[in-house]
């Protein structure tokens, strides 16, 4: 079978070292091959069917087969590696901002390096290194931040001077450069050949590969994949993997039950030239000039140069499934600005002759991160696509994580930032995708400063108060399509200036947020928190309680009207979700989770709750507007509006009661604020939202009420050492590791998910510990601000990374939260982290290469809690992420 599939590959340029295989070149494209009938019929069933024979599909097949799975069929509508993979520029670079992406790229590089030896297929792997140039100081800061991350991961990386750049690459004009980042281990490789090598290895391990076989749709029964229909018949299967690249969206929509995969293609151009008179060395490093929006690599003695223009051309919005993407037009006028940037960077290339301008569509996603994981609606339906033009760099690592996910039920790293379930149907509109990818593609090169937001595809989900808040100066950010207030610009402020407060240093809104924080501490503020995910779970009997007791680590068998903060843990004790649950009645519960949990949490519950008609799970997110009243005077405002006493004796902390506010009845009031400050959250049926808001603002006037935004909330929660799911907490973090043992009831009288691991950790200790750092010698006005992802050093040795940070207006210091590990000095092995280990260390936080002293704390400053109530029930959880 291996010989057969390789014969079908005859038009792709590759050379096999295996003696049995003939050498073939692209010139030998045989017409008879394509007319030939399919000699091998499809199997009637398989365990896994993979659709897509590009780098993703072959990498998944390779890794699955490596993990011992053999019963795998890979289907490709055209020929292997003939889509985007074939046109890929061939650059493998580890210079990635997000840690999970960096890990994938690092793994890919190592994999490709040994692939030729493993498979005998020549991959053209060449370790050339790469140089990322900075034309501005801000760009250099962003490169330094990446360099810090790479260094602690053990990836060689260096910030170099412009002079050093010239030594690495003689053609570069360095006059406008302020510095650069050099990664000596970055490589060039032929992506089509990598894909063929992976396919060869997979095929040797038993994977069946069928080309020119089109999947028409996937059949799903009772929420499970049952098989695929192809133009050559049906294959029954347990698992389906959609690696269809830019066709993934349509393949997802082809079945009766759609699987929403938000990807959209854009044209991508690069230039090939003839060789220079003195051909360029094939070991010359790849040059990335993000400020010029271009990359340049050596190619057969000449160069290959492409880029990410400001005005991308999205295509296939109408969804024509074009098998042949070869026919796309070259567009020189469109490429003009990139050509200018190229000649500015390498003026010596003027006389170089053009060979071709290649138009190679790439698929992009709404948030610039790739998409992997299992469909929320169809079990066994996996997806790996949307590589945002970094498919080759991610291919190896992404295929590995997805294979682990299929085989083990979870990958070996936290891949939540890439999980398909971070999106819902709301990101699946073609218009939304078209507009968003037009913003995403230029962003590949744009400088990304802290707190940047997408500008397209906005105002999709809004609170009923949106216009009111907007008219009062609200500035907005977006989460899961929902508009949320960052802060309120006071009347008379210079608006234009504030909108351009994009900086790595102290931002312009510093004082604005400061005054909102002050108001939360001294009077009362109102924050619209309607975006939170809200579920109701109820049953006719005790099923709701019984099932929730199993799925949540805290004890939910509390008196009616109590609110419980609890983790929703996986079997490894890690946080799948962190939420607040109010017991509304004996048999019904109200659950509040972070905004972006809407799909993930729903899927988790659906998959874990028994199929029992007595048990009803309902998403009521859209039914309620949530107003968070934070501050010592919240109690006064609310009691005046409800004619009910709201003091701690009558309405203790972590309590929930339906009451009237103004004329509106049935408002769910909870004594939580997600900040540790006193106050309440009001869950208001949406038709009352405006009324209640107006009442609160009118009544609040005499107590000094004002609007506030999420930046104030974040500052408050971080100075109180509150971890947020999605930012600080993930599926690899247990309550024991973040000081939340008090939210775990190991003795609640029944078994719950993750219990074993937690018991074990309680006995033997934990291997990482959530820690709060107060920056000591950091000048808020002059120094770079921390963001997240900064390396933490203990006694000069790397121990972990920060997960969030904020300026504390109370402490007048920056606070970073992050995890401390204990690596053995000799072996690097992870050891138990004890309280002493945390307390007996000198800490530093590395911000873009500059280290700042920090004081580590395992508990928040008690002085920050103005009112302590029931000692064990001080609200120690917030959970939405910013």
């Amino acid at each position: 079978a291996a010989g057969m599939f390789l014969r079908l590959l005859s038009d792709i340029q590759w050379r096999a070292a295996h003696p049995k295989w003939r050498r073939m070149t692209s010139s030998q494209r045989s017409t008879s091959t394509s007319a030939e009938p399919h000699p091998v019929s499809l199997p009637a069933q398989a365990q896994v069917v993979i659709c897509g024979g590009g780098i993703m599909g072959t990498s998944v097949a390779y890794h699955l087969s490596k993990m011992g799975w053999k019963d795998i069929v890979l289907l490709e509508q055209g020929r292997l590696a003939a889509g985007t993979t074939r046109f890929c520029a061939g650059i493998v670079s580890t210079a990635r901002p997000a840690s999970i992406e960096l890990k994938m790229a690092h793994y890919s590089n190592k994999l490709y390096q040994q692939l030729e030896q493993e498979t005998g297929v020549q991959t053209g792997y060449m370790k050339t290194g790469s140089v990322s140039l900075a034309q501005t100081q801000d760009r250099l800061i962003s490169l330094k931040r990446i360099a810090s991350s790479l260094n602690v991961m053990g990836v060689p990386c260096e910030i170099i001077s412009p002079k050093k750049v010239l030594q690495l690459h003689p053609l570069i004009n360095i006059h406008d450069l302020v510095g650069a980042m050099y990664l000596p281990e970055d490589a060039l490789v032929s992506s089509a050949n990598v894909s063929l090598a992976l396919a060869t290895a997979a095929s040797r391990n038993g994977v069946q590969i069928h080309e020119r076989t089109t999947v028409s749709h996937v059949t799903i029964q009772k929420g499970r994949v049952t098989g695929v229909e192809t133009d050559r018949g049906r294959i029954q299967c347990e698992f389906f993997v959609n690696c269809a690249g830019q066709w993934a969206y349509e393949l997802g929509h082809s079945g009766e039950e759609p699987v929403h995969i938000p990807v959209h293609a854009c044209e991508h151009f690069y230039l090939l030239t003839h060789p220079l008179p003195q051909p360029l060395s094939s070991s010359l490093p790849t040059v990335v000039d993000p400020d010029g929006r271009i990359y340049i690599r050596n190619w057969q003695g000449g160069i290959l140069s492409g880029g990410f223009e400001k005005n991308p051309k999205p295509l296939f919005t109408e969804g024509r499934n074009q098998l042949e993407i070869q026919n796309l037009q070259e567009d020189w006028d469109h490429f003009g600005p990139l050509l200018s940037a190229l000649l500015r960077r390498m003026p010596g290339l003027e006389a170089l002759q053009i060979m071709q301008l290649v138009n190679c569509p790439e698929s992009f996603t709404p948030d610039m991160r790739c998409i992997m994981g299992e469909s929320p609606t169809a079990r066994g339906y996996f997806v790996l696509t949307g590589m945002n033009s970094a498919g080759l760099s991610y291919g190896g690592g992404a295929g590995k994580y997805l294979a682990e996910w299929i085989v083990n039920g979870y990958p070996s790293e936290n891949v939540w930032p890439l999980d398909l379930k971070r999106f819902g149907t709301l990101q699946s509109s073609r218009t939304f995708l078209r507009h968003r990818v037009m913003e995403v593609m230029p962003l590949m090169c744009d400088l990304k400063v802290p707190r940047w937001d997408f500008q397209t595809g906005r105002q999709l989900r809004t609170s009923p108060l949106y216009d009111r808040l907007d008219a009062q100066g609200a500035r907005w950010m977006e989460k899961h399509g929902f508009e949320r207030v960052k802060y309120f610009v006071p009347p008379g402020s210079d608006l234009l200036d504030l909108d351009h407060s994009k900086t790595f240093y102290k931002p312009d809104w510093f004082d604005i947020v400061g005054s909102e924080v002050k108001c939360c501490k001294e009077a009362v503020c109102v924050i619209d928190m309607s975006s939170f995910t809200k579920f109701e779970i109820s049953s006719t009997g005790d099923e709701a309680l019984e099932n929730l007791q199993y799925l949540f680590s805290n004890d939910l068998d509390v008196p009616v009207g109590h609110v419980v903060h609890t983790g929703m843990l996986n079997e490894k004790g890690g946080y799948e979700n962190d939420c607040s649950i109010a017991r509304l009645s004996k048999r019904s519960f109200f659950m509040i989770s972070p905004t972006d949990q809407q799909v993930h949490c729903w899927t988790w519950l659906k998959n874990h709750l028994p199929d029992d008609s007595n048990l009803v799970l309902e998403d009521v997110t859209w039914k309620y507007t949530a107003l968070n009243l934070i501050g010592p005077r919240a109690v006064d405002v609310l009691s005046e509006l409800s004619y009910a006493p709201m003091t701690a004796e009558h309405f203790p902390s972590l309590f929930c009661k339906e009451m009237s506010v103004g004329y509106a009845n049935g408002i769910r009031v909870m004594s939580i604020t997600h900040t540790g400050e006193p106050g309440f959250v009001l869950y208001i049926p949406i038709e009352y939202a405006l009324h209640v808001y107006n009442e609160v603002m009118n009544m609040g006037q005499k107590y000094g009420i004002r609007n506030a935004g999420y930046y104030a909330l974040r500052s408050l929660r971080i100075e109180k050492f509150f971890a947020f799911w999605g930012q600080d907490l993930d599926a690899f973090t247990t309550p024991m590791e973040c000081g939340r043992e008090f939210q775990v009831k190991l003795d609640k009288g029944m078994e719950f998910l993750g219990q074993e691991v937690l018991l074990e950790q309680k006995q033997n200790g934990v291997y990482k510990r959530f820690t709060m750092f107060i920056l000591e010698d950091h000048d808020t006005d002059m120094d770079l601000w921390p963001w997240w992802g900064e390396p933490i050093f203990r006694n000069g040795r790397y121990v972990g990374k920060t997960t969030s940070s904020a300026y504390s207006y109370t402490l007048e210091r920056h606070v970073c939260l992050g995890f401390v590990h204990h690596f053995d000095e000799e072996t690097g092995e992870e050891l138990v982290v004890t309280t002493d280990f945390i307390n007996q260390g000198e800490y530093e936080i590395d911000i873009a290469g500059q280290r700042f002293q920090a004081k580590a704390k395992l508990y928040p400053f008690s002085s920050l809690f103005t009112q302590r109530r029931r000692k064990d029930e001080v609200e120690l959880s917030g959970y939405q992420r910013e």
């Binding site: 030239t273 070259e330 490429f335 050509l339 002759q353 053009i354 218009t431």
Partner: protein, 458 residues
Amino acid sequence: FYLTPPQVNSILKANEYSFKVPEFDGKNVSSILGFDSNQLPANAPIEDRRSAATCLQTRGMLLGVFDGHAGCACAQAVSERLFYYIAISLLPHETLLEIENAVENGRALLPILQWHKHPNDYFSKEASKLYFNSLRTYWQELIDLNSGETTDVREALINAFKRLDNDISLEAQVGDPNSFLNYLVLRVAFSGSTACVAHVDGVDLHVANTGDSRAMLGVQEEDGSWSAVNLSYDHNAQNEHEVERVKMEHPKSEEKSLVKQDRLLGLLMPFRAFGDVKFKWSIELQKRVVESGPDQLNHNEYTKFIPPNYFTPPYLTAEPEVIHHKLRPQDKFLVLATDGLWETMHRQDVARIVGEYLTGVHHQQPIAVGGYKVTLGQMHGLLTERRARISSVFEDQNAATHLIRHAVGNNEFGTVDHERLSKMLSLPEELARMYRDDITIIVVQFNSHVIGAYQNEE
């Protein structure tokens, strides 16, 4: 003293407006892609007006240009009111009843029109109540009439034009207790305005014209060249039929005095117009209204002056001529413009300039390297040159602006001469009117795909 190119642009672009028909999920299902409009004043203040709106209770879009004379009051009023009269005329009986009931019971009205206005296109707040009451009387009459027949667009347009002119006339005769409004309705009635209005609904294009503004269809021939099709007749002395009509309506004894120096009664250029009660009312009525009117009116020499040889009024009507055209895929755009444009440019040139402008956006000859030996430097030079050339053409984002630039700045070779443009635009107010008239242009771009699909259906 010359204006710099940016100064010229800021003058030309001050009043430009563009509207793109919103797409639904990436598709535009309307036969109209959008329109560009602009106006360049010569009078101070400008006496031209323009309007554009989408009918919300029936299908279709309305666009119109209005050329005022003897002040801008009449053109202003017509630009605010005419589309409401047309929309009401098009409404089915049930909708009229629904609207009347809503007003009767103080409920919110169904929105009738969605306006597409430049910020400078203002509506008179003071007169809105008065205008509304007149409009309401009109629909109440329509309800009482209830012909039961489906509304014919041609008839609706004619009725609306005539009715509005009638209301303008009546409001001036009745007057208003509020002295500001009283003066306003008189100024509206004593000034005049032409109107050229297009109604586009699918492939049905109706143009109703009163006066000497003009509607012209831009057609792309099979060989790619451009030709112009008139969709209106000018109502002025150059139009034999129009002269004939006027003569028919009056005794033979007046034949010589009716049209003198190419003007109606030797005074008025357009032969049809709104307002202009001096050419419609009897002498007695004019005298009575002027005398009982406010002092400002009495002191105005124009209003007191009675046209010579004024024996058998009315001499003037607002009744439009309506032309119906079924849109075809080769019909690419429609130009509505006041005579300020047409007296400087031939319609064939207008068709060519707009056509090339509109298609230039889409059909620029792409460069292909093919088998040629081209270096990066040569390609860069070529692209830079192309960009420069494009940017001069596309200095204008708006087809109407582009047309005005040509109308004002064209030299004898038919290309824009910056020096000439600069001179024309820097003329002092009192001189400007000598060299050019107010120009108002709307360019409507059609959606050939949708029009083609309609054709295939039929």
